[in-house]
């Protein structure tokens, strides 16, 4: 392909990304160095916003909450996703139906799914889970105001809508495992979990890594589901990083756009750092 043809085919997409992604990013970096309100030119501050962001205990708590949620959810997603994928992979004619049902929580908008999820636990909404737990244990759990109960509920919801994704990717990976290898292991006398642990899991390691990366990126972005699930997130310390940025830069009446932008820039640096191994791999591949 000639360079001119390449440019012709790529340019519309390139223009959109330059205008609607790169320019806003440039704005974010500029704002992060300013005191600024919406629609007004800002005043230059230097690195003050960064100093303020890093010394804010609320950001520290948000980072802790987000990272803890990410670690817990990824662990459950990998184990649960694998088990579910194996289960679904063994199904026959019922498989499309089961897949369809399992995909519903992945396809429903997060904020809507989380709203419905919250009603299962909300005693104000006659929540059935809430009711059953109270009946069985005699204890009433305050899902929305007790920090740990709330964390468990948010974690359950996150697993609920991300599990289908993990399951689908692992399922796609399972279908790439050569049946001869599994058969050979069976003939050698390996049974049950030993086949999974020593043969199948190692051969889909790439897929499991992919699930982890995408899920980590997505859970780090946690925002939507906290709106219905944790209306008191700032008070009980269950604010995610994104919710924190939203609250200080857009909600709260504070409009601390500069501070929010500084945190955004810090997040971008962190993400690029996390992605650097993959970027290095891609660059290496290109050189060959």
């Amino acid at each position: 392909m000639r360079r001119r043809e390449f440019l012709g085919l790529v340019s519309p997409s390139l223009l959109v990304m330059l205008g609607l992604l790169l320019f806003p990013l440039y704005k974010t970096v500029e704002w992060s160095l300013q005191r600024v309100n919406y629609g007004e030119p800002g005043t230059f501050l230097g690195l003050d916003n960064y100093a303020q962001a890093l010394s804010d205990p609320r950001l520290g708590r948000a980072v802790l909450f987000t990272v803890g949620l990410t670690a817990a959810v990824i662990a459950v997603l990998l184990v649960g996703g694998y088990l579910l994928a194996v289960l679904v992979n063994g199904l026959g004619r019922s498989r499309p139906w089961v897949l369809g049902v399992l995909l519903v929580s992945y396809v429903v908008p997060n904020v809507v799914g989380a709203t419905m999820f919250s009603w299962l636990f909300d005693s104000n909404f006659g929540g059935v889970v809430n009711y059953l737990i109270t009946e069985l244990t005699g204890q009433e759990i305050l899902w929305f105001t007790d920090p740990w109960a709330n964390r468990v509920m948010v974690g359950l919801n996150t697993v609920w809508f991300m599990l289908p994704f993990a399951m689908l990717v692992i399922l796609a990976g399972l279908q790439g495992v050569p049946p001869e290898v599994v058969e050979a292991a069976r003939i050698d006398g390996a049974t049950g979990w030993r086949v999974h642990w020593h043969v199948i899991v190692p051969s889909i390691r790439g897929v499991l890594t992919f699930v982890s990366i995408i899920s980590i990126m997505d859970v780090l972005r946690t925002f939507d589901q906290l709106i219905p699930l944790s209306p008191q997130a700032p008070q009980i310390g269950n604010e995610s990083i994104m919710l924190y940025i939203y609250n200080i830069a857009f909600q709260d009446g504070g409009q601390q756009l500069g501070l929010g932008s500084a945190i955004n820039v810090l997040l971008i640096l962190l993400i690029v750092l996390l992605l650097s191994p993959f970027i290095r791999d891609m660059a290496k591949e290109a050189r060959q």
Binding site: M1, E5, F6, L9, V10, P12, S13, V16, M17, G19, L20, L21, P24, L25, K27, T28, W31, Y38, G39, V88, N89, G90, L91, G92, R93, L99, V101, L102, L103, V104, V108, P109, N110, V111, T115, M116, W119, S123, N124, G126, G127, V128, W160, L168, A172, G173, Q175, G206, F210, F223, D224, I227, I241, Y246, F250, L267, I271, L275, M282, A283
Partner: protein, 298 residues
């Protein structure tokens, strides 16, 4: 690419043994029952928020929120009627569909040529663009959406479906390019060469040879784009006020209101979920194919 249907049926589906060429070891019946029970239980748990919401919104308002909850009631559809009559739900629904359709079509129209070019042009330029797309995919959404808010106000397009659709095209571009590129990479380059010998230009190759071959790939990418646009809360919330509000934003604003409004929000959630269930059934094989293509070669 869609190897979804090729797995052998493992559950004994009838009294006669599987007549396939490879002798499949028959599982004991008890195990099949166990697996079936587990699958049913998992499906039920995964659907329970939807089921519970559907139950709650068909109850009369005075028993819908009782604690302990009631499990027998005379179904009523008042919440749906009220939703339709007292709010502008139809408008929000239309906005959601318009935004999703427009952004999907534009993302595909500009993404297909770019992905094709990236799959056929070797060298560091393509790699640099793909790396940029990967980083763009992973960006914290606010880093681009907050400036877009400012920009859309300055341009006077704030609170229009156009502004939301444009933002979503940009945000979803990187993913669609990655996905489509992986599908294009599976098409042998010899086809391009043959078409060029016949006198086709690059654009003609793309249009006459590639696009017809890419049907499933384009459908898969389209389903993902539509899904992302349809689900988007943050972008729609920041870039809209009332006129261009979408259903997820509407449902979120109904929370913390009076009980009848909560029930209406529930009705809205159910109305939004019903078509989504149908969509999930149609889309499942394409989603598996897309995620397979994205993970194995991405």
């Amino acid at each position: 690419m869609s190897t979804v249907q090729t797995a052998p049926p493992a559950t004994p589906s009838g009294p006669i043994a599987d007549p396939g060429p490879e002798p499949v070891r028959r599982r004991p019946r008890g195990r099949a029952v166990l697996v079936g029970g587990m699958v049913l239980l998992i499906c039920w748990v995964m659907l329970s928020p939807v089921i519970w919401t559907a139950m709650s919104v068909t109850k009369p308002t005075d028993v819908a929120f009782l604690d302990p909850p009631v499990f027998t009631w005379a179904p009523t559809f008042t919440a749906f009627v009220d939703l339709w009559q007292t709010t502008e739900f139809h408008k929000y629904l239309l906005n959601t569909v318009v935004v999703a359709v427009i952004s999907t079509v534009i993302a595909l129209v500009i993404g297909i040529p770019a992905a094709y070019a990236l799959s056929r042009f070797p060298g560091w330029v393509s790699v640099a663009l793909l790396i940029a797309a990967l980083i763009f995919r992973a960006l914290p959404r606010f880093a681009v959406v907050l400036p877009m808010y400012d920009l859309s106000r300055a341009l006077g397009i704030y609170d229009t479906t156009f502004a939301v659709a444009a933002a979503l095209v940009a945000i979803n571009q990187p993913f669609s390019i990655w996905l489509l590129r992986n599908f294009f990479a599976e098409i042998p380059k010899e086809l391009d060469e043959a078409a060029m010998l016949d006198g086709c230009s690059r654009f003609q190759i793309l249009w006459r040879v590639m696009v017809p071959l890419m049907g499933p790939g384009i459908l898969t990418a389209g389903i993902f784009m539509f899904l992302f646009a349809f689900q988007e809360y943050l972008t729609a919330n920041v870039l809209t006020d009332v006129a261009a509000r979408t259903v997820p934003v509407f449902i979120a604003t109904q929370l913390g209101q009076t009980l009848p409004m909560l029930q209406q929000a529930g009705a809205a959630a159910v109305l939004l979920t019903l078509p989504v269930i149908g969509f999930a059934f149609i889309a499942q094989r394409y989603l598996v194919a897309g995620l397979g293509a994205g993970s194995v070669k991405g």
